[in-house]
């Protein structure tokens, strides 16, 4: 069995082609770019909601897209354990659709932040982190204006092991200086209770080829390798 993955395209998505490129040409996985109104879950083993500005981020980032029929389709995948991944704007959509806890607010600096950061892996059992080690430091870029993670129940997230990635320094310490946007607890990515739905603000698709990285790293591949591994494990 070979996995087949869908990358959704909303009006205003702009990381869809990058994600498609990495999955098809770097990971060599069968991947389709699918217009959100045309998405049918039965055709796919996993789905990625890419970055961008779906529906212009009007009202709040992700809220209009969260009402797309694609979200009803993705909900079927969510419940039967297939991976549902949201990157950046995709993460915002998944929180607004209530697939994931919390919300993403405007950065505390009020500025769009675009730079390479370090993440520390907190949970390496999920569909988007199982090829990593707990405590591993990941080199990856961020690019967002609304990435400040907020929840009114952080204790519950910690107890349920739903915090997957935190912003950290090069040694993996989640310090205040390494927090680029004011996220509560330096949180950069979370998962649902079943760990098949993950959302994160950083962009693994921009960190999967050495030529794109200032340090020649390819840590982004670990995310997609994890997704493929998760799909293969589910099937066998």
């Amino acid at each position: 069995m070979k996995p087949k993955i869908a990358v959704l395209m909303f009006p205003g998505s702009n990381c869809d082609l990058d994600t498609l490129h990495v999955l098809k040409n770097v990971m060599e996985v069968e991947t389709n770019l699918v217009w959100h109104n045309h998405f049918k879950e039965k055709d796919y083993d996993g789905v990625i909601l890419p970055g961008g500005f779906a529906f212009g981020d009007y009202l709040r980032a992700g809220i209009i897209a969260a009402h797309s029929p694609a979200i009803d389709e993705a909900k079927v995948m969510l419940y039967d354990g297939r991976p549902v991944i949201g990157i950046c704007n995709g993460f915002q959509i998944l929180t607004e659709a209530q697939f994931l806890p919390g919300a993403l607010l405007q950065n505390d600096s009020l500025k769009f932040v675009c730079k390479w950061v370090n993440l520390v892996v907190e949970n390496n059992n999920t569909a988007f982190s199982n090829k990593m080690n707990k405590g591993q430091v990941i080199d990856i870029p961020i690019a967002h204006g609304e990435g400040r993670f907020f929840t009114d129940n952080i204790k519950e997230l910690e107890e349920n092991n739903q915090i997957v990635f935190r912003y950290a320094d090069e040694e993996g310490n989640a310090t205040q200086n390494s927090n680029p946007n004011g996220s509560l607890g330096n949180i950069a990515g979370v998962c649902n209770l079943d760990q098949n739905c993950i959302g994160l603000m950083p962009h693994p698709e921009r960190a999967s080829e050495a030529i794109l990285s200032p340090k020649n790293t390819i840590d982004g591949r670990l995310f997609f390798e994890s997704m493929i591994e998760y799909i293969m494990r589910r099937v066998h």
């Binding site: 009202l59 709040r60 809220i63 969260a66 009402h67 929180t95 607004e96 806890p101 919390g102 919300a103 607010l105 405007q106 950065n107 505390d108 600096s109 009020l110 400040r148 907020f150 929840t151 009114d152 004011g182």
Partner: protein, 89 residues
């Protein structure tokens, strides 16, 4: 029953626990710097003015509140919704 047109004004504001950097900047870099030291707090938000046909004022308010909840026009994780005013036109 006869329907009338109402205007409903609604505000969406971050919950007190969620920092509001827009309001913090307005207060710190504008209000305080220009000498309005009597201002102790500012919160920012969004404002919607909705025209709606309904049987009466209460019904209009009820529909708008339900609509805002059902469609998540405000995000209950981070925001509070307040109906500021209902006016028959």
């Amino acid at each position: 029953m006869d329907q009338s047109e109402f205007i409903i004004e609604v505000s969406l504001e971050n919950k007190p626990a969620a920092r509001d950097p827009v309001a913090e900047t307005i207060k710190r870099d504008l209000i305080a710097k220009k000498g309005y030291n009597m201002v102790s707090n500012v919160r920012s938000g969004q404002y919607l003015r909705i025209n709606i046909m309904a049987e009466n004022e209460n019904k209009a308010k009820e529909i708008v509140t339900k609509m805002c909840n059902d469609l998540r026009i405000f995000n209950p994780v981070t925001q509070n919704l307040t109906v500021l005013n209902v006016k028959k036109i």
